[in-house]
């Protein structure tokens, strides 16, 4: 244990360096995913046939082992080793949790609320903006949370295709059989994943509209 701490302190600057690369990959991936997958989720919530096609594709992509997907992108001339392949793979993996959560979040909104709103003269854009999105927000955000936690783990694997992030501590550590290195990498990545999960979980709970949290006793 003390060896571990000693190792981490001695190599703090490299570790921080790796950590920042790790974060930048995660956040870039999440940012692109938000822009791509949320609108797609909204789109398929209106079209069942499209929904089953899109969700089928997302599910299939999601099944592909991460090392496999990363490696395949490496073989493509435009992408190669490093950031482009990693980013593309992460964004593709994010498709499943994000699209399905946006889709389900919107679908689950009480139909009689929408009927009443439509009957009052609200147009579809308004209904989406003022009713469906606020009520779907917690579930949609859960998708973002899952994506971030997942990306934390998968980004580590990207170390095998040239990313210089915390995964490197593990890969190098395995090669050199340096136990403290392996442990520091594994524990740090795990801790960051758990931290994200809890913090974002708290945000998710805050997004639940007040009207849904109160009850008659209050």
């Amino acid at each position: 244990m003390s060896n571990l701490l000693k190792y981490m302190v001695e190599n703090a600057s490299i570790i921080l360096d790796y950590a920042s690369t790790h974060f930048s990959l995660i956040f870039s991936a999440v940012a692109i995913s938000l822009v791509l997958w949320i609108p797609l989720g909204i789109l398929i919530s209106r079209n069942e046939r499209l929904a089953s096609i899109v969700l089928g594709i997302a599910n299939t992509i999601f099944c592909i082992p991460s090392l496999a997907l990363f490696s395949v992108f490496v073989t493509i001339p435009f992408l190669g080793l490093g950031r482009p392949s990693s980013l593309l793979a992460l964004v593709l993996y994010a498709m499943m949790p994000m699209v399905i959560n946006v889709y389900q979040g919107i679908k689950v909104v009480d139909k009689s609320v929408i009927e009443a709103a439509k009957g009052m003269g609200m147009n579809s854009r308004r209904i989406l903006r003022e009713i469906q999105l606020p009520l779907a927000a917690p579930v949609m955000f859960a998708g973002i949370r899952i994506t971030v936690v997942m990306a934390t783990g998968i980004a580590a694997i990207a170390a095998y295709i040239g990313e210089r992030n915390l995964g490197r501590l593990i890969t190098e550590g395995l090669t050199r059989y340096h136990v403290e290195m392996i442990l520091s990498g594994a524990i740090l990545i795990a801790l960051i994943a758990i931290l994200f999960d809890n913090v974002l979980g708290a945000v998710e709970r805050m997004l639940v509209p007040k009207g849904l949290k109160v009850s008659r006793s209050k």
Binding site: D110, E115, K118, G119, M120, G121, N123, I131
Partner: protein, 373 residues
């Protein structure tokens, strides 16, 4: 004024139309109740009027303008819409819910605020208590009232109501119906009201339209339908108690006889038979010291009792001390009370003052007259 001309609706993939060749006119200020068994198409018709569903063929006109010529959203803003499940936005306060259509119209905040409070009072809710609450904090009855208030927010001339009082228990429903009738007497909106309950239809409607399997079977006032059901279906739908249902349309006041009874005091009881012969009355009301009615006795009672003294007569009369009803009571309730107190006559009061009597025969005559109509 709403007019439907040869309106038909066939859902895709179905062979049997949900609504077939419907031609119906609803006058301004009229409450027309669409009633019929489940699946008869009544809700479908309602939802075609505000274009929530598009008709397959036929025309629907509102104030002589084809509804297809107006933008659907705009059309709906001008029509109040209340559904059974209410559909309040759960994430908005009551005030925000009611303010929806006014906001769509672009009213300013002050005007909206006033209108919200006005409406909450109108539907019997305390504005200060209710406006900042969320739907989850209200009871079923309260939510239903808010639903109605919300539909009236921009004061639309037309309202469409689909089983609006369906989601509450019968007692609350009765209150809501009464209050809505009172409102309608003041507002005089054109209302289309859907229900599966014939009793609600009779109570709420100026006119009733009965539907079966997508077709209009009979259209008329409650009176017309009850006294002249068009066919076996209507008769069965109304039920065996058709005549008793018709009695709900009349108040005791309308058949009260003012001159066919005698008044007697306790000290005059010995001469009761004489008095009744002299005044040619069939029923006698016993008054107490403060000239308030405290008993009732009929000629039949006296005959059945035979030769008895004033004490016994007083006993018989006072056993009926509750057989006095208010003029506003409905005839069916009066009939029920006659059966309950085993007495063919009831005294009629206005407040605490006696204004007349009604008898079982009076009710019979009323029915005979209306049945002929």
């Amino acid at each position: 004024m709403i007019e439907l001309r040869d309106v038909t609706k066939i859902y895709p993939g179905q062979t049997v139309p949900a609504v077939k060749d419907l031609t119906l006119k609803i006058e301004e200020g009229e409450t027309c109740v669409f009633v019929g068994p489940s699946g008869c198409g009544k809700s479908t018709i309602l939802r075609m009027i505000n274009r929530m569903i598009e008709q397959t063929s036929g025309t629907i006109l509102i104030n002589n303008k084809d509804i297809r010529e107006t933008d659907p959203d705009r059309l709906r803003m001008g029509i109040g819409y209340v559904i059974q499940q209410i559909g309040l936005l759960p994430h908005r306060t009551i005030a925000e819910n009611i303010a929806i259509v006014p906001r769509l119209y672009g009213w300013d905040k002050e005007r909206i605020r006033k209108r919200v409070d006005e409406l909450l009072e109108l539907v019997g809710l305390d504005p200060d208590e209710t406006r900042a609450k969320y739907p989850a904090q209200l009871s079923g009855g309260q939510m239903q009232r808010v639903g109605v208030a919300r539909a009236m927010a921009a004061d639309p001339p037309i309202m469409l109501m689909d089983e609006p009082f369906g989601a509450v228990d019968p007692i609350v429903r009765g209150h809501l119906q009464d209050e809505f009738l009172k409102l309608q007497r003041e507002m005089k909106k054109t209302i289309c009201f859907v229900t599966h309950d014939i009793n609600e239809a009779i109570k709420m409607g100026d006119k009733i339209a009965i539907f079966e399997k997508g077709q209009l079977v009979q259209h008329g006032t409650p009176q017309e339908i009850l006294s002249n059901p068009k066919n076996e279906f209507v008769r069965t739908f109304i039920g065996y108690d058709r005549v008793v249902k018709m009695l709900t349309l009349f108040q005791v006041r309308s058949i009260t006889k003012k001159n066919s009874y005698s008044i007697i005091r306790e000290n005059e009881l010995a001469n009761i038979r004489q008095k009744m012969d002299d005044e040619q009355s069939t029923v006698c009301i016993l008054m107490n010291e403060s000239t308030r009615p405290c008993g009732l006795i009929t000629r039949d009672d006296l005959e059945k009792a035979g030769e008895v003294g004033p004490e016994k007569i007083k006993e018989i009369a006072c056993s009926r001390k509750d057989a006095f009803i208010d003029g506003d009571l409905l005839l069916n309730d009066a009939l029920s009370l006659m059966l309950e107190w085993n007495c063919d006559c009831l005294g009629v009061l206005d407040g605490a003052e006696l204004i007349g009597v009604i008898s079982l025969n009076d009710i019979r005559e009323c029915v005979r007259r209306k049945e002929g109509a």
